[in-house]
Amino acid sequence: MQQYLISFLIFSPLVAAFVALLLPAKHVSSFRYLTLLTNVIQILVLILMLLSYDNSKAIQFVEQQPWITLNLGTWGILKATYFVGLDGLSLPLIVLSVFILCIATISSWTVNQNVKGYFILLLILNASILGSFTALDFLLFYLFFEFMLLPMFFLIAIWGGPRREYASIKFFLYTLLGSIFILIVMIGLYISVHDPNASGVLVHTFNLLYMTEPSNFISNTILDPNNPWMIGPYNGRLWAFLLLFVGFAIKLPMVPLHTWLPDAHVEASTPISVILAALLLKIGGYGLARIALPVFPEAALYFGWLVGLMGVISIIYGALNAMSSKDLKRLIAYSSVSHMGFVLLGLASLTTEGVTGSVYQMFSHGIISAMLFLIAGVLYDRTQDRMINTYSGLSLKMKSFTTMVLIAFFASLGLPGFSGFIAEILVFLGAFRSNSATGILPESFAIIATLGLILGAAYYLWTLQRMFFGPFNVKGHISEDQIFDLNTRELCMLVPLAAATLGFGIFPQPLLAIIDPFAKYLTEFVLTTGKNLTLNL
């Protein structure tokens, strides 16, 4: 029974979407309740899974079904399977996804325009996010990965702000570019990897677990570790790693490739921003940890410094940009860039602390950024204005809102007691130790990255000071009675998030116990395998 739980998670929203398709469009609230019901069911299933999850085992709840098997004659057999499972990397993200998606549904309660389409897209998005976090087959992963793009594009392009077309097309093109890179690598891997269990015949497989094992590569194929061919300065595997890195870094987003994010966030409606920041960005980090590092361990060692450097640049650059933002949502978006830089830094360090910290950061940033965007949404709902300069002294009028803002801001700037602190400190420790332990990142990276903390404090406090403190005043067309405190629905969304970030900040052990074995396995695997593989340069 256990093995079908993941499939249940993935397909229940699809079934719900199908049901929603059949319902008449005028029963507006039925779609909301249907989606919420789906989310609640997912949460229940997830709790069931958490209860039976065993920290000591590697991949659990595995389900493997034949999906595509094509006999290509002399070309061998193309084999893709429906292969899903959970481990210490995906479980936290699944927990996060299910939780955040439920919050996003509650937050979508105010959507009034074309409700049917909206919720159907939301359900499809739900399924594809869960699918890509659990898929262990590259083709399946890629399918879900791409599938995510479609509802997201429409959700931004239809229910977005004034410049939504620009933002959605930018988002779409950027991500598509990344997808193409990933696709190239996927094809390369498909050509190069065979199924070791197939007797006699050559079976090309998409199984990610097989791809990680260097002995499964067919000799003299493009991505074979022993292949002496060079493409320019590097061999095929290094290029493939770089392509994957860029592909996932766009999603992450890493600094030179991040400009879709602020625009998409500014234009997207609140629940979409929440999903985008809390879940979609994580796919980038997830992909790096799941695919890029274990499949190309020697490239990960070789390019680790690059990944780490880009992480540091993202941290500093995102923070600086956040400081110069005038729009609250844009500020939060840039802070996301900055925080996701920690994920890169931690992964690049290839120390257990660093990788654990990265995954923890993905989780914690999911919660915190969701909260931040909800906060921006609350303000936007009231006044249709997100400019920081418009407001001052909001704390006098909106007391509980200010409390939530304080929690979110301080959680985001890494105050101890909140989950962000644990994540960041682990990343820092890992990154710093990296030089002595693995020799990948110089210590200076970690030291420079601490600047990000200072800048983070600076922009958040500055914002607090400008918007919430001082005498009460609003500019422009906003009347004072538009400013009122949180209502019950908004509290329902914000309080669990605040509780979660506090809880995981004070008692990190339950989550760390899940992540840690994975991080340990990953780092050991990458280090040992990567060092055994000769680097043809």
């Binding site: 105050l415 420790l429 130790r433």
Partner: protein
């Protein structure tokens, strides 16, 4: 015992859950009693440790543990006791404030965080408390958040702290890389000094610089006086700023000689800057703030000279007399405020130039000021004398026999203690002696008993008895290694008295040099740095983002569109051109076929028959 301490923290957090604010002082009293219990019943030279697993990364477990020894026991007592007194005082001072719940909650959180610092057995936990202290101080400084200056000051305090904390964090990273552990007790034995060790200790000292307002990160402390006065007393005089000193004492083993030298230099610089700046201030709270900075500089210098025990002693005495001074100042401010409200006049009650001759109207406060101020100035028979004496003794023995730069530092410190006397005297003289200035004609009522009581208690604690029965001996506190040096004691007595005399002579002179008033323009430098570099950087990145990256993307997009246009033109001109013939033909056919559809029966017939004929011809040929 640990359970008691645990309970202590728990009790403090309990208050966090919005119980009515009057329970807060009571709970604090409980806490203070527990701390006293801990302090007096803890056997000397023993420590108690209780660890709970906090979290685990790979094989390194990071525990949350409580660690109590003599040192932390003392600190525990100080923190709890002063915190208790401040709570009591606040009940009076903050009466009628609309957000009193938040105020007490934050005071509670602060005390809790402070206790975490005091009791933590590993640096990470200590860092947690460290940051939480910063956070609660942020909230308390910005308590009157509708005042823009308060918000700015709060922000400044937090960011300055944060800068120090970043250094602290780097230190943590270095230690983690070196030892794979944060446990303070693991480093109890001094290591061989390595460059990394020096770096680590200096980085952690960065945190101390931020928190204890040392040079160059000192300018936030005077600004932090925007907060309520009890907060200034608790946080910015007695406890939080002392946390830095405590931290260094706690991990003293970690510091290498090289780093200690730097610590000493920083401390001396701070002490002199603080003292000089205090001389130039007119705001009563700012005087006290700069004096705090100066005294902290003393402590840090003591640390740098390898005398953590002396530093602790000074920390201890300073906590009491400075808290007393702050609270007394707060009491003046409040009394005058009330008087002002009755008389409907308005002037800045914190400006000492507006005050004068208050000794008759506020005799009790005057007394407290005299006692605590004397202690600050280091007059004999007061606790301050003892601790300063200990520091000076330490520095003299550190400087050694030969003349070196160390003597230079010692000389500066001696000078600083001279200035300390001067500014203290100036402050007290201006406020309480002479003629009444703006306060003339105001009927001033003294503060209620809840405010008076803590002040008196603190003033009493500033007497020498608390420290040692002998008013000239400090040896009970200091380690055996430090000989009591009668020569130094004698010298300091003479020196202080001389300073007192000079101060009396110069009592009516004002030190209005702008450089002093502005605290050596440090703020302006920071302003310049942040605006010139920081804001330029943000503008630069924003520009890069908008123009370079987005510009590039737009350029590629435009290029794409351009290419699309070119290919489109090619399509139209060449491909379509050839096709166009076809197209025009097809258009002809189209118009013809259109006629099939225009309802003219005869054409329908024509075309159908025509087709049949064509088909037949084709079929036959």
């Amino acid at each position: 015992m640990p359970l008691v301490s645990f309970l202590l923290s728990f009790v403090i957090s309990e208050k966090y859950s919005w119980i009515v604010s009057f329970t807060a002082p009571f709970l604090l009293l409980l806490g203070a009693l527990c701390a006293a219990f801990v302090f007096f019943y803890l056997p000397a030279d023993q420590h108690y440790l209780r660890e709970v697993l906090w979290f685990k990364v790979s094989d390194h477990a990071i525990s949350g543990g409580l660690f109590v020894n003599n040192l932390s026991g003392t600190m525990l007592l100080v923190v709890n006791f002063i915190s208790f007194l401040v709570h009591v005082y606040s009940v009076g001072y903050m009466a009628g404030d609309s957000s009193i719940r938040r105020y007490f909650a934050m005071l509670g959180l602060f005390t809790f965080a402070m206790l975490v610092i005091v009791l933590a057995d590993n640096l990470l936990l200590l860092f947690v408390g460290w940051e939480l202290v910063g956070f609660s101080s942020y909230m308390l400084i910005g308590h009157w958040k509708e005042k823009p200056q308060a918000a700015t000051a709060a922000k400044k305090a937090f960011i300055f702290n944060r800068i120090g904390d970043a250094g602290f964090l780097v230190g943590l990273m270095i230690l983690w890389a070196l030892h794979g552990s944060f446990n303070i007790n693991d480093w109890s034995s001094p290591h061989a000094p390595t460059p990394w060790q020096t770096a680590a200790s200096l980085c952690i000292f960065c945190g101390v610089i931020g928190k204890s307002a040392q040079f160059p990160l000192l300018s936030w402390l005077p600004d932090a006086m925007e907060g309520p006065t009890p907060v200034s007393a608790l946080i910015h005089a007695a406890t939080m700023v002392a946390a830095g000193v405590y931290l260094v004492i706690r991990i003293f083993n970690l510091f290498t000689p090289a780093s200690l030298d730097i610590v000493a230099i920083v401390g001396t610089t701070t002490a002199s800057i603080g003292a000089l700046a205090a001389l130039g201030q007119n705001d009563i709270k700012r005087i006290l703030a700069y004096s705090t900075i100066s005294q902290l500089g003393f402590m840090v210098t003591a640390l740098g000279t390898g005398r953590p025990d002396a530093a602790l002693l000074h920390l201890f005495t300073h906590a009491f007399f400075k808290a007393g001074l702050f609270l007394a100042a707060g009491s003046i401010i409040q009394s005058l405020h009330q008087a002002q409200q009755q008389a409907h006049t308005h002037f800045d009650v914190q400006d000492i130039r507006n005050l004068g001759g208050l000794r008759k109207k506020l005799p009790m406060v005057f007394l407290v000021f005299i006692i605590s101020g004397s202690s600050l100035a280091g007059l004999p028979l007061f606790s301050g004398f003892l601790s300063k004496d200990a520091i000076l003794t330490g520095i003299v023995s550190w400087a050694g026999g030969s003349v070196s730069w160390k003597w230079f530092l010692a000389a500066i410190l001696v000078g600083v203690s001279f200035i300390t006397v001067m500014y203290t005297f100036r402050m007290i003289w201006t406020i309480f002696f002479g003629d009444e200035k703006r306060t003339d004609g105001l009927s001033i009522i003294e503060s209620p008993i809840v405010m008076k009581a803590p002040i008196i208690v603190l003033a009493l604690c500033s007497l020498w008895i608390i420290i040692s029965w002998n008013p000239f001996m400090h040896t009970r506190w200091t380690s055996p290694g430090l000989e009591h040096h009668w020569g130094v004691t004698t010298f300091s007595i003479i020196w202080v008295v001389a300073a007192f005399g000079v101060a009396y002579i110069l009592r009516d002179k004002s030190f209005q040099a702008r450089i002093l008033q502005k605290g050596f323009y440090l703020d302006q430098y920071y302003q310049a740095i942040t605006t010139n570099i920081g804001l330029k950087m943000t503008q630069l990145t924003a520009w890069i983002d908008r123009d370079c990256i987005d510009g590039l993307i737009h350029a590629t997009a435009y290029a794409q569109v351009l290419i699309a246009h070119v290919t489109g033109w090619i399509d139209r001109a060449l491909v379509d051109g050839t096709v166009n013939g076809l197209v025009s033909f097809v258009r002809g056919v189209g118009t013809v076929t259109r006629s099939f559809q225009d309802g003219k029966i005869q054409l329908y017939i024509f075309w159908s028959v025509f087709t049949i004929i064509i088909f037949l011809i084709w079929a036959m040929l």
